[in-house]
């Protein structure tokens, strides 16, 4: 697939919006429709769009972390959210809540959602990037026109 100017310009606008929206969905999830899973999918599709516009190499660079590290830390965070109640004498997986000054309620379920979010982003991106490594021509390649996508 060739680098597309339209797609690249659109991606530059859309990707930050999508990431923002994915975080919004995740945070909204506790009381209304949304949650870590759906938020993670939207977040992953933002990076997938970026990869389609600029190539997976640039998309990997934009993510900073390896998607597999995201997966591991996601499960880790979810596990920690389940373990936290043990330290205060509550049963495993009990949802604990605290109200911050200003009326913001925070609890272990949001931590669990963050874990799910990271896991879904990581897992989806592992699959998508793997498609590129397997030679599926879904993503633009570097040096196809002699330039790297990022130098445009």
């Amino acid at each position: 697939m060739r680098l597309s100017l339209i797609l690249r310009t659109a991606a530059r606008l859309l990707v930050p919006l999508m990431i923002l929206f994915s975080v919004f969905l995740m945070l909204r999830g506790h009381n209304e429709a949304g949650g870590g899973f759906i938020g993670g999918l939207v977040g992953a599709s933002a990076f997938a769009l970026y990869a389609m516009a600029y190539g997976t190499k640039d998309a990997r660079r934009a993510l900073y972390a390896d998607p597999r590290t995201l997966m591991a830390s996601g499960v880790g965070i979810a596990l920690v959210s389940a373990l936290i109640p043990l330290f205060s004498g509550a049963p495993f997986f009990k949802g604990l809540w605290t109200t911050l000054p200003g009326g913001l309620k925070l609890g272990t379920p949001i931590l669990f959602d963050i874990g799910v979010y990271l896991l879904v982003v990581g897992m989806t991106l592992v699959v998508i990037y793997e498609l590129d490594d397997d030679g599926l021509s879904l993503f633009p390649r570097e040096n196809r026109r002699g330039t790297t996508p990022s130098s445009s």
């Binding site: 597999r68 590290t69 997966m71 591991a72 830390s73 499960v75 596990l79 049963p91 495993f92």
Partner: protein, 529 residues
């Protein structure tokens, strides 16, 4: 230690280990260490749990603080904890064995994280007290095992995995449908409450139909006749460490689930479900498995068919459904997991030393590696039921239970199948370990191949094999205490009141007005249709 903590450790440890192993994905040694620590930790926690159950009876834990019929409970009775301990023993053995057996490429693709996720699924299945949660754990287990079975991407692995995946998805479908029907009929999925409610459902025919859906679903997982063909098609394809873990544990989770639901939930129509269906299935499973094995010429395919035939013995215990028969079934599971996993581990070493899994190519291992030959003989004779090894005691108990219950036919089948098992083990012994006949080829003058040098890795592979052989001998020598343990477990299984009380407390939920009303309405509706 706190009982609740011990109950969740077999789940938390493998999950934490999977996370850590994924984070250290570029450092195979650290991963191997994490894996070993996690498996040993699960073993220690399970032993601790056994001690607590010995003192205080069945342990139940409501996760998240939600009380029993509403939240998900984890329950550890004798059967659960026995399964936990035995599978953790296999986990530790395979953790050691995998270090030399699993190549770096497979480690790089996530062997250790998925091994731990598989352990998580297995332990979860043993501990959960909720029917739908059991389904979820089955899925965790299946997805991890799908990955492990294709890891390495060889052609026969993919061919085996396709069959494995397809048939197991069918099994999941039956399980899910069955669980849906149970919820529609009884209005709960908590197994203890179901045990009370299902016995009061008016339309017991519907319950019997549901029980048959579970028989199909768990029958596929446990590789029962006629749904076993995926097992010999796939188990011989992954590396020996993986196939030993699968052979020891995965089908036995199916057997465990079957024992659980056919002692706790579906005891309304024993004459049909147990004495007819399970009995026939058990007999046919034994016979087809052992006959299938006779036709095979691959070390691990022979063993795979024997898993099928041995599963028949466990189901035979469940089918006879007397306390003694249940003791036999539990004893058989304990004995079988250790022995079968060990035989697969031996096959891996034989492959390393002899260069092949094929019995046509292997020969004369005894001449240069008498130690391996002896380590093969212990589990092999035990599997065939040679006195005084563990398999003999297991079969003796089952045969006695069968005769007491008047089920002479199945006892005759069991004994005949035992003889055929002997034949298969002898075949492996003669072909792989004794010098071959004067065939042209790799063999030298007297039919004995060149000695393959022992590497450090091969020596390390001997350690878990010797340890498991020692466990088999322990079970044989101390058959009394193991029998006691199996007896306590069988008592709990035949009288589920202790289980129900541990989960639900002293109240009787079926007497609850809302449940009663709900139940009448629902079963009435079914009748009207």
């Amino acid at each position: 230690m706190d009982a609740d903590l011990l109950l969740i450790l077999p789940l938390v440890l493998p999950l934490a280990a999977a996370v850590l192993a994924l984070l250290f994905r570029n450092v195979p040694r650290v991963q191997a260490g994490i894996n070993l620590i996690s498996m040993s930790g699960v073993l220690a926690a399970s032993l601790g749990l056994l001690a607590i159950i010995n003192e205080q009876g069945i342990q139940a834990f409501a996760s998240g603080g939600w009380p029993a019929p509403f939240g998900i409970v984890l329950v550890a009775d004798y059967l659960s904890v026995i399964m936990l301990i035995v599978s953790a023993i296999i986990g530790v053995a395979v953790a050691v064995y995998a270090i030399p057996n699993i190549d770096t490429e497979r480690v790089h693709f996530g062997f250790y994280p998925f091994m731990n996720l598989l352990m998580l699924g297995i332990n979860g299945s043993f501990l959960t007290g909720d029917l739908f949660n059991l389904y979820v754990w089955f899925e965790v287990m299946l997805i991890s095992s799908f990955v492990l079975i294709v890891l390495g991407n060889t052609e026969d692995q993919l061919a085996g995995a396709v069959k494995y995946v397809m048939i197991n998805l069918v099994s999941s479908l039956f399980f899910l449908t069955g669980a849906g029907l149970v919820y529609g009929t009884a209005g709960t999925l908590n197994m203890a409450e179901l045990s009370l409610v299902l016995n009061e459902v008016e339309s017991s025919g519907l319950v019997t139909i549901i029980s048959m859906m579970f028989l199909i679903s768990f029958g596929i997982k446990a590789a029962l006749f006629p749904l076993f063909f995926w097992l010999p098609a796939s188990y011989h394809t992954p590396p020996a460490a993986v196939s030993a873990f699968f052979a020891g544990l995965l089908t036995k989770v199916g057997v465990y689930a079957m024992i659980r639901v056919f002692t706790l939930l579906f005891t309304q129509d024993i004459g049909y479900t147990h004495t007819t269906m399970l009995m026939w299935v058990a007999g046919l499973t034994m016979v087809t498995g052992v006959l299938g094995a006779a036709a095979q010429n691959d070390f691990r395919r022979v063993l795979s068919f024997h898993i099928v035939s041995q599963i028949g013995y466990m189901i035979m215990g469940l089918a006879i459904y007397t306390p003694l028969a249940l003791i036999g079934a539990v004893f058989y599971i304990i004995h079988h997991i250790i022995v079968k996993a060990n035989l697969f581990l031996v096959s891996g070493v034989a492959q390393r030393l002899g260069g092949s899994f094929s019995l046509k190519k292997l020969k004369g291992l005894y001449a240069h590696h008498p130690g391996l030959a002896i380590l093969f003989l212990i589990p092999a004779f035990s599997l065939a039921g040679f006195p005084p090894l563990s398999g003999f005691w297991a079969k003796l108990v089952l045969a006695k239970a069968g005769i007491e219950a008047g089920a002479y036919g199945i006892v005759a089948v069991a004994i005949a199948v035992g003889l055929f098992t002997m034949f298969s083990m002898t075949k492996i012994w003669v072909k792989a370990f004794l010098p071959g006949s004067s065939e042209p080829g790799a063999a030298s003058e007297n039919g004995t191949p060149e000695r393959t040098p022992m590497t450090m890795g091969t020596r390390l592979m001997y350690v878990p094999i010797a340890a498991l052989a020692a466990v088999t001998i322990m079970i044989s020598v101390f058959a009394g205490p193991v029998f006691d343990l199996a007896e306590r477990s069988a008592n709990e299984l035949s009288d589920s009141s202790a289980y129900i009380e541990a989960v639900l407390g002293h109240e009787e939920p079926a007497a609850d007005p809302y449940t009663r009303l709900d139940l009448d309405r629902r079963s009435g509706g079914v009748h009207a249709r």
